[in-house]
Symmetry: C2
Subunit: 277 residues, 2 copies
């Protein structure tokens, strides 16, 4: 006999809904994306789909029809009717009794949510405080997987310190990225961020910020920073799909610049917006 | 408006069952245990419950009543009526719209399955082959969390090579443990395994094997091994709750000893069994 138990209730394996056997829950065996729309238009959909396809391939989930995914996203977005929407979706390898080794006949599970983006004008105008946390994540953060417990713990630690984001620092003392964002520093007229490696998500927002930086005449340097270097920057900001650029005005308690969003950060916010219309 | 989509079906947030918003799926934000019974008796239940409590505390899931967990396990085990059972259970932080930061009012989700243990007499008699894989896991493997994608990928890689387990090797070239097991080597009359650190699960089976080793007169050395050292061992074995000791007779293609389970490994299997009756 086989059985399951949900909270206090015993359930036979036959009665058990497959969602309870999702490998996404047992193992985090899945990958995800977060999209946003600006004024009714989904931003960089194709690039997110391409990265999603890369993540699926990297963990060996095959047979996902990307045209079907695209049409599901469009259909849900149209049904939601939200102009400034956050679109989250994931695919897990499927549902089956727990076994690390996956069977050949698994059918991937797709799940999506759409919600209205919170207005973050305040964060953009005033800037945020961030705090550092050891980078406890796995060694393939180039894959956008559901293994996000270290990110959750780091962000919760930041929140406890009154900070809006955790900046992750590896064992060599170098900043990799934010727990849910890319991380940038400006020194003079140089825009610096960590190079893309297996430890860093190939952020789509990052790519457009580098483009925006070039457009406004900044020199781009892809080189990792220490915490000390970051604390001494002229300007800092984080970048994330749902909020694009958010100025950082305090780093581990150290005030950055004059404690207000820097001039190049503001120029970049302005320049970035041009991509979104 | 907010909505969700499950496969092709659009669902309003009001209709959506909470299980779809489990933080276990979004983030792997939960911890688990695997128990087994021998002939109708659950082995080392209290030690597993203690480790589970430690894992819950380490990720800040509070308010779980361990007496309630114990009684659920006993009730499900009695209902299953399986003498040699594998008991899996996890607790996630709860269900809520996706946000790294957790709310104060989340109610943890408990889920358990019981299945009959497959007979592994063959593996014990003949031994298994193992292959190495880079240890891609996060930096807190002392916490038994649901972030198991690197373990899944490593085991699948091993299976593709015709091996029954992946042995994980860190960036310094040292073996940490198996993807789902502890790892032991015997040199002469010395039993060697990696010391417990933040990179290694405090395996309960490991603890009993060390006890068994002392009982049969082996010297115990807690020191990490390189792959090369492991391949040159007199005997190798892995240890896991569901199978206790499984001899390893091939390591990355190198035959260990005479290609059959070693004499001390067999003595340890015998000695370990005494703990389980």
């Amino acid at each position: 006999m086989q059985l399951a138990m949900i909270q206090d209730q015993i359930v036979s394996m036959e009665e058990l809904e497959p969602v309870y056997l999702d490998r996404g829950t047992f193992f985090g065996d899945g990958v995800y994306e977060v999209l946003r729309s600006y004024d009714g238009k989904i931003f960089t959909l194709e690039e997110h789909l391409q990265r999603f396809a890369n993540s699926l391939a990297a963990i060996g989930i095959a047979g996902v029809d990307m045209d079907q995914i695209r049409s599901r996203i469009q259909r849900a977005f149209n049904a939601a009717g939200t102009a400034n929407a956050k679109i989250y979706f994931h695919i897990t390898r499927g549902s089956a009794p727990r076994d690390h080794i996956w069977g050949a006949n698994l059918k991937p599970n797709f799940f999506l949510t759409i919600s209205e983006l919170a207005d973050n004008a305040n964060e953009k105008t005033r800037g945020i405080a961030v705090s550092t946390h050891p980078d406890w994540r796995w060694k393939r953060c180039d894959i956008k997987s559901l293994n996000l417990l270290p990110n959750v713990l780091a962000r919760q630690d930041a929140a406890r310190r009154g900070c809006a984001e955790a900046i992750l620092v590896d064992e060599a003392g170098l900043i990799t990225e934010g727990a849910a964002s890319a991380f940038f520093a400006i020194f003079g007229q140089t825009l610096q961020t960590a190079p893309l490696t297996a430890n860093i998500l190939p952020s789509i927002t990052r790519k457009y910020i580098i483009q925006a930086g070039e457009n406004i005449g900044l020199e781009i340097v892809e080189k990792s920073l220490t915490s000390q270097q970051a604390a001494g920057a002229d300007e800092l900001f984080i970048a994330v799909t749902t909020k694009d650029i958010v100025p950082v005005v305090k780093f581990d308690g150290t005030v950055i610049g004059d404690g207000k969003p820097g001039k190049y950060t503001k120029l970049l916010i302005h320049e970035f917006r041009r991509f979104t219309v």
